[in-house]
């Protein structure tokens, strides 16, 4: 067993447990996007950063990939962590504003502005689908391609893969793009609608007859007579 302290609480966890596991065991919420039980921790989205160590040696690490070490002191919601996490969410919003998951995160962390040039990307390259395909479906049909800004996920050379069984596992595990809100006005990237109790679509008439992908959505639940 390994003894460590999370937010000042001592906890003993089994060898091989991650910091995220230890924090969750104690009930401290840590937001994640790329992490999923059953898949190898990857550490791509960086949302789950926590602060470890003390004084000038303190640093942020992703809790999903960092193994619990004896004597480790973890802070899951220090000022530095929250500051970094808010910036990550702002970056996510700047690229993927149509994702319900990301909009909800923004609401939760009170990110009320998005100061970058707005982009509309479908994928945050968290890699869940790649790991799902490789580790659970044993197919390895899709993978990462390119690096830096030209990185993408797909089959080699975009040719339909022979090993793909079209199981849909990749779509099932996608954290950011499976629930896609088509409503928000593009110029107002931060809507906070789905987690706020005063959602923006309430006042908009045209939505009455449309099929909403967000169902069940807080806004609609309230609107029902």
């Amino acid at each position: 067993m390994i003894d460590l302290a999370v937010n000042g609480l001592n906890v003993s966890v089994e060898k091989g447990t991650t910091v995220l596991g230890a924090a969750e065991f104690l009930g401290f919420p840590i937001p994640t996007l790329c992490h999923m039980e059953g898949l190898t921790p990857y550490g791509a989205c960086r949302l789950c950063v926590v602060e470890i160590g003390e004084g000038p040696g303190a640093k942020l690490v992703t809790s999903c990939t960092y193994p619990a070490e004896p004597g480790l002191k973890v802070r899951t919601a220090s000022a530095r962590v929250i500051r970094a996490r808010k910036m990550i969410i702002e970056l996510l919003l700047a690229s993927c504003p149509q994702s319900k998951t990301i909009q909800d995160l923004a609401s939760k962390y009170e990110v009320t502005q998005q100061r970058f040039r707005q982009e509309y990307e479908e994928c945050i390259l968290c890699g869940r689908c790649v790991h799902m395909c490789q580790e659970q479906m044993m197919a390895k049909a899709i993978g990462f391609r390119g690096r830096g800004q030209s990185r993408s996920i797909g089959t080699p050379f975009d040719v339909p893969s022979e090993v793909c069984r079209q199981c849909g596992g990749c779509m099932y595990v996608c954290p950011a793009c499976s629930l896609r809100c088509t409503y928000t006005e593009p110029e107002k990237a931060v809507c906070g609608g789905c987690a706020n109790l005063s959602p923006p679509c309430l006042e908009k008439d045209p939505f009455d007859d449309m099929m909403c992908y967000m169902d069940p959505c807080v806004a609609c639940e309230i609107k029902k007579p």
Partner: protein, 617 residues
């Protein structure tokens, strides 16, 4: 080449080669590393061979083709031994004269470099300002060795350290020596090498396999010291690796070198073959029963593969992508086996430490920063090239005394250290001694040792933008904050350099830079903000000027400057002839005019004007 089966037979051979390598014979040394060949060394070699043959001088003059000596500004150059005359920028037509004069033991005074202060020719290479201030350990061997001849290296005392390690010492002794020397990793992070080896020697995963890797994936723009060492003295690295392998009990060695270094690969392959044939490498190293061999793995040119965990993946044949440490490579590296990764320069220092003693190495430098470090000094400076100085040397000395100061009238403003993830250190801090800790404190890093000098004609926003452009392409893309963060930082810097920036964006840039530094996994991401943060720290006024006044003080950012011709113009028409879009018009002997609508702001006119008549506002 005979196979050596014992340390004694090696020592006999070394004594014989030492006697043979008669230092008194006149030798023409032509540095032909990649830099030398690019500037025409191949033709010099050809001419030298012809002159020796036609002049029937084969018995009196020897020719030695070596790697780069470091003074790249003066390539193609020639060194004549034993008089040690140094001829810079040699014209192939002069080669025959040089060979004949060398045969007679004379020096051609008209071809020698001239001392700028006295106007007198400098007769010996060692008297050149570029060389006098340096303390050359690793680099000093390059001029004495033909990298394709193992005999040269052995004759210079090479593999002597290996023999010493094999004959009267155990692994613990080697680690003790390295620890005593105080050497820290020369790849950038500065982890104590002795400590790393000690950890590696204790590590094991039960398979019995252990790797030692030489990191020659040098990707920083403007840095090329590892290439020069690998090209000019590959045996030093091989010897260092064998000693490291004995110290940590490694079974396999790998030199990870980028494919962009064909000459380095060629020389390493030749060196490995020779070492194997001599019994210095392979199943039974010098009859000691130790089994160790080295392979070469070629990298495909991804900057991030210089990071150790990404390199391991690349060696395994997978996508070069860093992973979370711990577990460190020392515990779990290539295919799960313990892996010790050292930089080229670190390994090249190892034989010197063993040969000359740890105390001699520890006597150089500052507390905690021992030994010498090679820097590649480039940019707006008189003497560019490879510079080896003791750690703790002030930046001022490197820039002004070895580098010879600025090229033109513009004053030197800053020096950028540590490659793309390093930072800029302003001229006001040039008294700073160069050490791992002082550079980090100043907001930069030691990195692998790139040193780019910038003068007043360099725009710091443009510099930050350039490096961010490099990093956004070279980020592996795994960490969201590194991939998007570098893209967004580039976007803001691009806005500012085009005059579209706002003060709010400047705050955002700073916040983002700190977030990227904090939340990324590997060394690339954690240092990717340095170009932004260090320029913001020391040159914030330049950013403000771009934003508020829409002015680029250095006259670099194209969107913010206009070219015009002032009253100094004599109407010589030089500028009009070279202007690519033909934007300059004017009669002969009358003041010319630039058509701002046509001008593409390439700066060609300014480059050719002899009267400083082209102004940039």
């Amino acid at each position: 080449m005979e196979r050596l089966t014992s340390v004694d037979s090696f020592n006999t051979l070394q004594d014989r080669l030492r006697k043979q390598s008669d230092a008194g014979v006149t030798t023409i040394v032509i540095p032909a590393g990649t830099c030398g060949i690019a500037s025409g060394a191949a033709e010099l070699i050809h001419e030298a061979q012809r002159a020796i043959l036609t002049g029937n001088l084969a018995g009196r003059v020897r020719l030695r083709i070596t790697g780069c000596h470091g003074f790249c500004q003066m390539e193609p150059s020639i060194l004549v031994e034993p008089v040690r005359a140094f001829y810079p920028r040699v014209n192939p037509k002069d080669m025959e004269r040089i060979v004949r004069a060398a045969a007679r033991g004379e020096v051609l005074r008209d071809l020698l470099p001239v001392d700028p202060s006295t106007g007198q020719p400098i007769e010996r290479q060692d008297a050149l300002g570029f060389f006098t201030k340096q303390v050359r350990g690793v680099l000093s061997q390059n001029e004495k060795i033909d990298p394709t001849r193992i005999e040269d290296y052995i004759g210079q005392g090479g593999y002597g350290a290996l023999a010493a390690v094999l004959s009267h010492a155990d692994a613990g002794w080697v680690i003790e020596q390295i620890k005593k020397s105080g050497i820290r990793g020369r790849g950038g992070a500065g982890f104590p090498t002795g400590k790393k080896w000690e950890l590696a020697s204790k590590a094991g995963n039960g398979t019995g396999k252990k790797f030692i890797v030489c990191n020659a994936d040098e990707g920083d723009p403007g840095a090329y010291m590892d290439r020069s060492v690998l090209e000019g003295n590959p045996h030093a690295i091989i010897e260092g690796m064998i000693i490291a392998a004995i110290a940590i009990g490694a079974t396999n060695g790998i030199i990870y070198v980028r494919t962009e270094y064909p000459l380095a690969i060629k020389h390493s392959l030749i060196a490995l073959r020779q070492a194997r044939r001599m019994g210095l490498l392979g199943d039974n190293i010098l009859g000691s029963g130790i089994k160790f061999d080295i392979d070469i793995v070629r990298g495909a040119g991804a900057f991030v593969c210089g990071e150790e965990t990404a390199m391991i993946k690349s060696i395994e044949g997978r996508m070069g992508e860093p992973r979370q440490r711990p577990p460190y490579p020392i515990a779990k590296g290539i295919f799960g086996s313990p892996t010790c990764i050292n930089n080229v320069e670190t390994l090249a220092n190892v034989p010197l430490i063993i040969r000359h003693g740890a105390d001699a190495f520890a006597a150089i430098g500052l507390e905690g920063n021992r030994g010498t470090k090679i820097f590649s000094l480039v940019g707006k400076i008189r003497n560019t090239g490879l510079v080896e100085v003791p750690l703790g040397t002030p930046i001022k000395e490197v820039v002004h005394e070895i580098g010879g100061g600025p090229v033109g009238k513009a004053r030197i403003k800053a020096v950028q250290t540590g490659g793309p993830s390093g930072g800029c250190i302003p001229a006001s801090l040039f008294d700073l001694p160069i050490s791992y800790d002082s550079l980090t404190k100043a907001g930069s890093i030691m990195g692998s040792g790139g040193m780019i000098v910038m003068d007043e004609n360099t725009c710091m926003v443009d510099v930050a933008r350039y490096f961010m452009n490099f990093l956004k392409d070279e980020s592996c893309g795994k960490c969201f904050t590194c991939r998007k963060g570098t893209q967004r930082m580039y976007e803001i810097l691009d806005d500012i350099s085009k005059g579209n920036g706002t003060l709010e964006q400047l705050d955002l840039l700073e916040q983002l830079a700190h977030a990227v530094k904090d939340t990324t996994m590997c060394g690339l991401g954690q240092t990717a903000s340095n170009p932004v943060l260090s320029t913001l720290r020391y040159f914030r006024d330049e950013y403000i000027s771009h934003i508020e006044k829409r002015r680029c003080p250095a006259g670099v950012c194209k969107e913010l400057i206009t070219y015009s011709i002032n009253e100094n113009c004599t109407g010589c028409q030089r500028c009009a002839k070279v202007c690519p879009p033909r934007a300059i018009t004017g009669e002969r002997k009358e003041r010319h005019v630039i058509d701002a609508a046509k001008c593409i702001k390439c700066g060609t006119c300014r480059g050719v004007c002899k009267f400083e008549a082209v102004a940039v506002v």
